[in-house]
């Protein structure tokens, strides 16, 4: 419906403001447009409305976990094609397992800035989504 954006857009969903602001700052410095959504509640709407090119989804959130939220997003016709990546402080083994279990595009372990940049770039440049 709307015209092509000149910038790729990333939506970050996290319950921790510090992580939201940090990731936002880091990705904006790479030249991406970044939206943030605090907590899981209302996140489905946020995804539907912003139509991001990539969703960075925290896992451990009160009330609704990132895993369950990913299920909701992937089963909803309007959001199922938007690529989701888990963005979490959890152990990487758990992250790998969760990626397989929930069928999301991948994961980014929080804290490794280099990896964050590299992976976001690769998810956004790849033909998917």
């Amino acid at each position: 419906m709307e015209g092509k954006r000149d910038k790729k857009m990333v939506l970050i969903i996290d319950d921790d403001v510090k992580h939201l602001l940090t990731a936002k700052g880091l990705l904006e410095n790479m030249g991406y447009e970044v939206r943030i959504h605090h907590f899981a509640f209302g996140a489905t709407n946020a995804v539907r409305e912003t139509k991001p090119d990539l969703v960075l989804l925290d896992m451990n959130m009160p009330g609704l976990s990132g895993e369950r939220l990913s299920k909701l997003l992937l089963s909803n016709g309007k959001t199922k094609d938007i690529p989701i990546v888990f963005y979490s402080s959890n152990d990487e083994d758990n992250l790998r397992k969760a990626v397989v279990e929930y069928g999301v595009k991948g994961y980014i372990a929080k804290g490794d800035i280099f990896e964050l940049r590299k992976k976001v770039a690769s998810y956004l440049e790849s033909p998917i989504g």
């Binding site: 319950d15 921790d16 510090k18 940090t22 700052g25 410095n29 609704l64 152990d91 929080k110």
Partner: protein
Amino acid sequence: MDQLCGESPQVGKLITSREHLQPDVVVRDVADRFFKSSELDALALVEGRNPLGLVTRPKFFFTVFRRYGFELYGRKPIITIADTAPLLMHEDERLDVAIDKALERPPQDVYDDIVVVNESGSYAGLLSVKQMVIQQSTVLANNIIQKEMVQAKAKEIERMSELRSRFIAHVTHELRSPVNAIIGLAELIQVSSRKGYMEQMKDRLALLMSSATNLRAIVTNILDLSKIEAGKMEVITEQFNVVTLLNEAAETTRVLVGNKPVNVEVIAHEDPLFMVSDPVKIRQILTNLLSNAAKFTEKGKILISLGLEGSRVRIVVSDTGIGIRENEMDKLFVAFSQLEDTMTKRHEGTGLGLTITKNLLTILGGKITVASNFGEGTSFTVFFPLNHMTKEDSSDGRQERQKDGTDH
């Protein structure tokens, strides 16, 4: 040992009687023996060492009285009315096999004693079927108990390892999360400083500080818990006024409550109440309880009340917060079980506070109870001995130490 191992013992070890007679002893003498010793159930007939037959009490009397008559046949040798083909069994036979064989006999013979022989075929003794069955049921019961014990143990180990890995997963997350924020923020501050954005730098530094403070709290908690688990937590006692300590704790709580409409009050006598214990640990316990109260109470009040019950100090921390559901009560003191789902994160916090609190209380000889109405509030009650006796304080320290390691 056999029973403990859960295996069927050998029948040689279960022989109930070694009574035997020569086969030519007359029937009347055998009757005398049975009459005289009422516990004698059976006699084996043995010539030299060879078992030739078996006489059991019920069959003997049945035969003598009904078919022959005592007077008439009393003088005949016992072998004429004995069972000359009793069930023979090797002494190495397993009990369960022996029982199977015994029970395979015709109904009238089922309860007849079994003649046990050794390797060379010599008479070794008699085996009571009744005793064998009792023995076997004990073995079976032991087996069942053992099986249950082993299963319970296995379950426990499984549960512990499950808890352990959950604990590690949580520690990983809890430690990484603030570290990650610190790294990201440091990078961003660098960017801000390059661009000369002072305001942005200030904001980011504030976030960095709060992440670092959070990290310190988590590290301290994890170290405390490790210390407690390793039994290395030392108790340093001194005399102090617990009323002062409560007032200080209340002051800290007011800071934590911030702008929320929550009153923090101390209910205690104005007079000082001196106790001998470890004030640092008691402060830590109260801080844990009060920071929880501050965190989970949006409006209303937090009360800290002090009482004395005999030689115990009672401190109650009650709030008008969100409360705790009945079914979540028992998870309360388990590390990282911070209510809600384990994977859906909770309120800010390490999830270790109550576990540490409970452990510290145990170390100080105290205990904790909790009562809560979901949606209405929670109240934690802690008890401490007014005088925490240490080994060093007791009049005969050396002896105390030798007896045991406990302090009270």
